[in-house]
């Protein structure tokens, strides 16, 4: 066996030179990639309808009765309380969908095509999360604007904090979406996750108050319940229960480690 290939001689024209042009890009995010991903998002009419139209429509259906605008929950009226619930629901839908979009791209073979480029898998995932959070923000803001013109009122700072918490907390669902996107082989993974999210929204009391009973007891360990409590705390002024924080952190840990586990399997060389 010769060793010609492994010991490239200096001065050889075909030996790879250590030129900077060939070095892979540094930095986690790539602006051109991010821009294309955002543009794709805007083109996806189905995603837009589900995340930007459905939550405000739900809000208008559930939250604008005269009784609600008149009734206070502490620092805001019930309409504002329902508005933040719907902002959380919208952000959840958006971030889960954004994360789960990796499933479609895996099914189409795009992630395999990307492995023929210097793109780092971490950049791909980070970009997906950023895009998911952008859509989540848009969804939460649409609900808020619709809410404010439809009778939601209260302490402005507290309402703003509540909406901000709904958006920031939805990052947990971006991790959930990624986990599911890497776990489920389906090309239409959101058709599975849509009903799951609706169930989780009920469990978090986002659509209707939970009241008492078996479902309410089970609901307390759901990933939406703790987050909903945190989101509403500024409006009620009740303070954030410790177990709600534990709930959110525990589910975040589950989703992030689940996504990381599946992601490593997906990008591992077999």
């Amino acid at each position: 066996m010769t060793t010609a290939a492994t010991t490239a001689t200096a001065g050889s024209t075909t030996a790879p030179a250590a030129d900077a042009d060939r070095a892979p890009r540094a930095g986690l995010l790539n602006p051109a990639f991010l821009a294309v991903e955002l543009r794709r998002l805007l083109r996806n009419r189905r995603t837009i309808i589900f995340t930007l139209v459905m939550p405000p429509v739900f809000f208008l259906i559930f939250g604008t009765a005269d009784a609600y605008t008149a009734q206070s929950v502490g620092h805001a009226n019930v309409t504002a309380w329902i508005m933040t619930s719907m902002a959380l629901y919208g952000a959840m839908l958006a971030t889960t969908g954004g994360g789960a979009s990796v499933s479609v791209e895996r099914a189409q073979g795009w992630t395999r095509q990307l492995r023929l480029t210097p793109l780092r898998p971490a950049t791909y995932v980070a970009t997906k999360v950023v895009v998911a959070m952008v859509l989540g923000l848009a969804s939460a803001l649409v609900v808020t604007v619709v809410g404010l013109v439809s009778g939601a009122s209260g302490d402005a700072g507290r309402v703003a904090l509540s909406v901000a918490l709904a958006w920031a907390g939805s990052v947990v669902f971006a991790a959930f979406g990624l986990f599911m996107g890497y776990l489920l082989p389906a090309e239409n993974v959101m058709q599975i996750l849509g009903p799951v999210l609706a169930l989780l929204a009920f469990a978090g009391g986002l659509f209707v108050p939970l009241g008492d009973g078996l479902f309410a007891d089970i609901a307390q360990v759901s990933p939406t319940y703790g987050l909903a409590e945190i989101v509403r705390a500024p409006l009620t002024g009740d303070g954030v229960p410790v177990w709600a924080v534990v709930n959110v952190l525990a589910w975040a840990a589950v989703f992030v480690s689940g996504a990381a586990w599946r992601f490593r399997r997906d990008t591992a060389r077999v």
Binding site: A5, A8, T13, R25
Partner: protein
């Protein structure tokens, strides 16, 4: 008789030791469970060579390419691309590939796909240039989902050209294309190869290997069974097959046939004798005048036969130039027709 005998042994291609090899695969092995997909492949490709990796489906071509690109890790053996390991070669854009499994996003346009892929590299050829060289500048603004299979394949080719790679690897690049699409694709690739790039393409179309490669590497059951120029491979197909009914042919009769000028091999199959020869007239005359043979048939051997003989199951056990071929129309045989 060894299967590789008509051609140069694989190691001969390694002769000039000057400079690094473009592709250097040594002792590659890869199994999936009990299946040995790659079973000891050695391959040395010099810069500028255009090599066809030819074999039937399941021969181990795609697995070898995955190993070459670092998409899979070998159980044993080493991979070097211009002296680099595959991950580094990909990251530096020194090797690029057009794969069967590489998907494209249907909602992006052709141009957007090229632009976003270019953004992953530090420096690339221009979008306009790769679109032109792949022959798809006229459909740059078309959504990928509305492109034909052939157009999508040329888009993958354009993407592969972006980093101006030293080595271009293509796995069955024209699968599923119509005749027009195949021609357009090969025209684009051929023009690129003329610029001196090293190209390795896998195919199960013998005519593609013959038309576009300087060198043909035949693989079967995860091993290289022949390695030589396209002309050498075509020589395998020279000559004819003479078949005759000769019940109870004895060893002396077989030996007499073997001794005839031009006869390469004789095989007994049931009551029939199969004679591979470059002088079919002489064999027929001998059979009809000096033996009790009847029902003589003479058939020309196509490239397809030679291909199947070398890559089929019989290749390592019996004389590869006769038998186990024409009466076994496989998927591969049809695709070669």
């Amino acid at each position: 008789m060894d299967a590789t005998a008509p051609l140069a042994p694989p190691d001969a291609a390694r002769a000039p030791a000057a400079g690094p090899l473009a592709i250097d695969l040594r002792g590659l092995r890869k199994s999936f469970g009990p299946v040995r997909a790659v079973d000891g492949i050695d391959l040395a490709v010099r810069p500028g060579e255009v090599v066809a990796f030819l074999g039937p489906n399941g021969a181990g071509k795609t697995t070898t390419i995955d190993l070459l690109l670092g998409l899979a890790r070998p159980d044993a053996g080493t991979v070097r691309v211009h002296g680099l390991d595959p991950d580094r070669a990909i990251a530096e854009g020194r090797v690029a590939a057009v794969l069967q499994t590489g998907g494209l996003l249907k909602d992006l346009t052709v141009r957007e796909t090229v632009r976003v892929t270019a953004s992953f590299f530090r420096a690339t050829r221009s979008t306009a240039e790769v679109l032109r060289r792949a022959g798809i500048e006229d459909i740059a603004d078309r959504p990928v989902g509305k492109c034909s299979g052939g157009q999508q394949q040329r888009l993958r080719f354009a993407l592969a050209l972006l980093p101006d790679p030293d080595v271009l690897v293509l796995d069955e690049p024209t699968t599923g294309m119509d005749v027009e699409g195949r021609r357009a694709f090969w025209d684009a690739l051929r023009a690129d190869a003329d610029r001196g790039r090293t190209i390795l393409f896998a195919t199960h179309y013998l005519d593609e290997a013959d038309a576009y490669a300087d060198r043909v590497v035949l693989v079967s059951h995860g091993r290289v069974v022949a390695d030589g120029s396209a002309a050498q491979v075509k020589n395998l197909a020279a000559g004819r097959l003479v078949s005759a009914a000769l019940p109870g042919a004895d060893d002396a009769e077989v030996a007499a046939l073997r001794a005839l000028p031009g006869v390469r091999a004789v095989e007994r199959r049931g009551d029939r004798l199969l004679v591979r020869t470059t002088d079919s007239d002489g064999v027929a005359r001998h059979l009809l005048t000096a033996t009790a043979a009847s029902d003589v048939e003479i058939t020309a051997r196509g490239l397809e036969d030679a291909f199947l003989a070398l890559t089929g199951d019989g290749a390592t056990t019996t004389d590869p130039t006769v038998g186990t071929t024409a009466d076994r129309p496989t998927e591969t045989a049809r695709s070669l027709a």
